[in-house]
């Protein structure tokens, strides 16, 4: 029997911030196209590693003075460099003990269903790969894999994508908040994940059962510049018998606002550009009735591409509305209270450009 605590200790010493062990049976009921049990059918255990985003990486966005460091360090830096380097080490540690370690880094839009809305077929995703031909731009998009099909009847089409945040829940690390972000007691919403599937039999950690991590304060809903989280509709899913409810998220709208967050929140786009295109390519910002979809994403990206496009392989986050709001509230009365000597935010709300 492999020593579970030895793996955890090794992972943390190697540079992971959290390490949890999940029971793959906790995914019972997941749609087949997103069921992680098809990734490595011989797997008996799932290990989740969490990597914190330093709070200071968000500081520039919070102050409105620096936006580059967050996507390049807390997104690209963790996903592309930091997490893989530790996954590799922990994988070797497991394989040295005679078991297989299928290491799985953060990735998106390589599956048979859209990671935007779960529908089958070919849709854009805001993840890292650059697709020039569809957008004529340098900003980052890539697409789900339209032509994929199973290699045998009992398998699912490659590359199977599973829900990282729910998988982290299944490994006992935390709960999904109203914002749809995974919250942990240690870092609130500020972490990213990577996983290891292994055929080693490992006793799973219990599901998180501590004090509820989400305050249900709705700050994430209020502070999203795109109003992407619904104040009235929710989604509930059950993982390992634990129901989790979040506000219904308009993923396409979130996609748009994440990178080009509109007149009040995007300091890189001149006012006249918003004015010029208010009833055309940028109508999504001015007309609440316009439904966000892939075409609206392309309209926005093609128009705003010259104003600070992606150059680190990841789109530049301009909004940080939900995550900043959540950190602020959790420091005031939740799991992050007392963690830092000085608060993330002094006032209740952050800046809005007056225009």
């Amino acid at each position: 029997m492999i020593d579970k605590e030895a793996i955890r200790r090794f992972a943390l010493e190697s540079g992971a911030d959290l390490c949890g062990f999940g029971d793959l049976n906790r995914f019972e009921g997941v749609p087949r196209a997103m069921d992680p049990r098809f990734v490595f059918p011989a797997a008996r255990s799932l290990i989740c590693l969490a990597f914190r985003m330093p709070r200071g990486v968000q500081r520039g966005i919070e102050e409105g003075t620096q936006f580059y460091q967050y996507p390049s360090l807390a997104y690209g830096g963790i996903n592309e460099t930091y997490a893989p380097s530790i996954l590799y080490e922990v994988g070797k540690f497991i394989e040295d003990q005679g078991y297989e370690a299928m290491i799985y880094r953060n990735t998106g839009a390589r599956g048979s269903v859209s990671d935007m809305d779960g529908t089958p077929g070919n849709t854009l995703s805001p993840e890292e790969q650059i697709v020039y031909q569809q957008t004529g731009s340098r900003t980052a998009h890539h697409r789900t894999v339209q032509t994929t099909r199973p290699v045998s009847p009992e398998q699912e089409a490659p590359d199977l994508q599973f829900h990282f945040r729910l998988a982290a829940v299944a490994c006992g690390l935390g709960e999904i908040g109203l914002s749809k972000m995974l919250l942990t007691p240690q870092f609130g919403p500020m972490q990213r994940f990577a996983f290891i599937f292994t055929d080693a039999p490992i006793e799973p950690d219990p599901m998180y059962s501590g004090k509820p991590l989400c305050l249900k304060c709705k700050a994430c809903i209020r502070e999203c510049p795109g109003h992407c989280l619904s104040d009235t509709e929710t989604v509930t899913v059950t993982v390992g018998g634990k129901p989790m409810t979040w506000a219904k998220l308009d993923e396409w709208r979130c996609y748009i606002y994440y990178t080009y967050s509109g007149r009040k929140q995007d300091p890189f786009v001149p006012t006249e550009v918003f004015d010029q295109h208010r009833d055309g390519k940028l109508r999504i910002y001015e007309h609440p009735e316009v439904k966000a979809n892939e075409q609206e994403v392309l309209n926005v990206y093609a128009t705003l591409d010259p104003y600070f496009p992606s150059q680190v392989g990841y789109n530049m986050a301009k909004c940080a509305g939900c995550i900043g709001a959540c950190v602020n509230m959790l420091e005031r009365g939740g799991c992050l209270k007392g963690k830092f000597k000085e608060p993330f935010r002094k006032g209740l709300r952050r800046w809005n450009i007056d225009r």
């Binding site: 540079g15 990486v57 409105g64 936006f67 830096g77 001149p270 104003y307 830092f340 000597k341």
Partner: protein
């Protein structure tokens, strides 16, 4: 308890070759567009980190036998990977103690509002001159700290003639990163001497004559250093290999260009438009990821500088310290 010694030991363990800690008050008078206090208003100190560029990578550029390795390993790997690991690991240590860590890696492809130049190392640069402040009293984003200024404040070294950092350990051959923090660490003294003796070897070596003779004084932490004008657009063209000595240049290079010989001799003066026009003709080697272009001038300025510093005995001999460290089982 978080101490300067603990930070320095950890930084070396995580891959830094040089570490210095600067008092944030030394940035007084800095233009808002470059002032770290506007990134982290509660900042007290700044941690300066240098990672060396292995000398061997420069040797093969100087000897003319290899150019791709230096671009990939000496530039892209250090800036995009090793620096990221170092910054994230050190930030964890600081934030575990309740202080905030704002890591600052290079932003190679964006130019601050007041910067009309370019970064020769990357294929494309984006100007932020149309950005607007998010609120009155704040500068328009992104605030980008001046890495040479910050390194001087952290006591790591002094500016060269063209304004980049020189250290006694590696001369011009290191890459930098910083962490702005509100941790009240004991600060090092700023670097006050000038390692550059204004010999002019860098300017003489540049095949594109990108380093001018116009003196430009810069003042960091109260200390004035004399540098020279440095034309980044001119540099970018010869960095990519427009000069006659570039061994990758085909015989028909710019065959129909009326200024062919002046360009190849480094006499032609490039500006933003003319530089961008000629870039497509300078596609001699593949770019590395994130748009790092191969350096085909072989960093002639830095090679000349290094040789001069070494000849003058201004570079540390690190061998004795390294051997001692190996004996003691610690990182030098």
């Amino acid at each position: 308890m978080l101490t300067s010694q603990l930070i320095k030991e950890a930084a070396r363990r995580y891959g830094a070759d040089l570490v210095g800690i600067g008092d944030i008050r030394h940035f007084a008078g800095t233009a808002p567009e470059h002032d770290p206090r506007l990134i982290l208003p509660t900042a007290r100190t700044i941690i300066g980190l240098a990672m060396r560029i292995p000398r061997g990578l420069n040797q093969v550029m100087q000897s003319g036998t290899q150019r791709y390795a230096a671009n990939y390993l000496g530039t892209k790997t250090i800036s995009e990977e090793l620096t990221v690991l170092l910054l994230l690991k050190l930030s964890r240590l600081i934030e575990d103690e309740g202080y905030e860590a704002c890591p600052q890696r290079t932003c190679p492809n964006i130019r601050a509002r007041d910067d009309d130049g370019t970064n020769p190392e990357v294929s494309e640069n984006i100007s932020l001159r149309r950005a607007v402040p998010v609120a009155p009293g704040k500068p328009a984003p992104d605030v980008l700290i001046d890495f040479t200024q910050a390194a001087v404040i952290c006591g790591l070294g002094s500016p060269s003639w063209r304004g980049q950092l020189l250290t006694t350990a590696f001369g011009p051959f290191q890459r930098l990163a910083f962490i702005i923090t509100n941790a009240p660490l004991e600060a090092d003294e700023p670097f006050t001497a000038s390692l550059c003796d204004q010999c002019g070897a860098c300017a003489a070596a540049c095949p594109g004559q990108a380093i001018g003779d116009k003196p430009m004084d810069v003042t960091y932490a109260g200390q004035t250093f004399t540098t020279r004008s440095y034309d980044r657009w001119q540099c970018s063209v010869y960095y990519r290999g427009a000069h006659r000595a570039n061994p990758l240049q085909p015989p028909d290079f710019l065959a129909d260009h009326p200024d062919r010989e002046a360009i190849r001799d480094g006499r032609f003066r490039f500006g933003e438009e003319t530089a961008k026009d000629i870039y497509p003709k300078l596609n001699f080697l593949p770019q590395a990821q994130y748009g790092y272009v191969a350096c085909l001038c072989g960093r002639a300025c830095d090679q000349a500088c290094y040789s001069h510093l070494k000849e003058k005995g201004l570079l540390e001999d690190r061998r004795a310290a390294a051997l001692q460290a190996i004996r003691e089982g610690v990182r030098p």
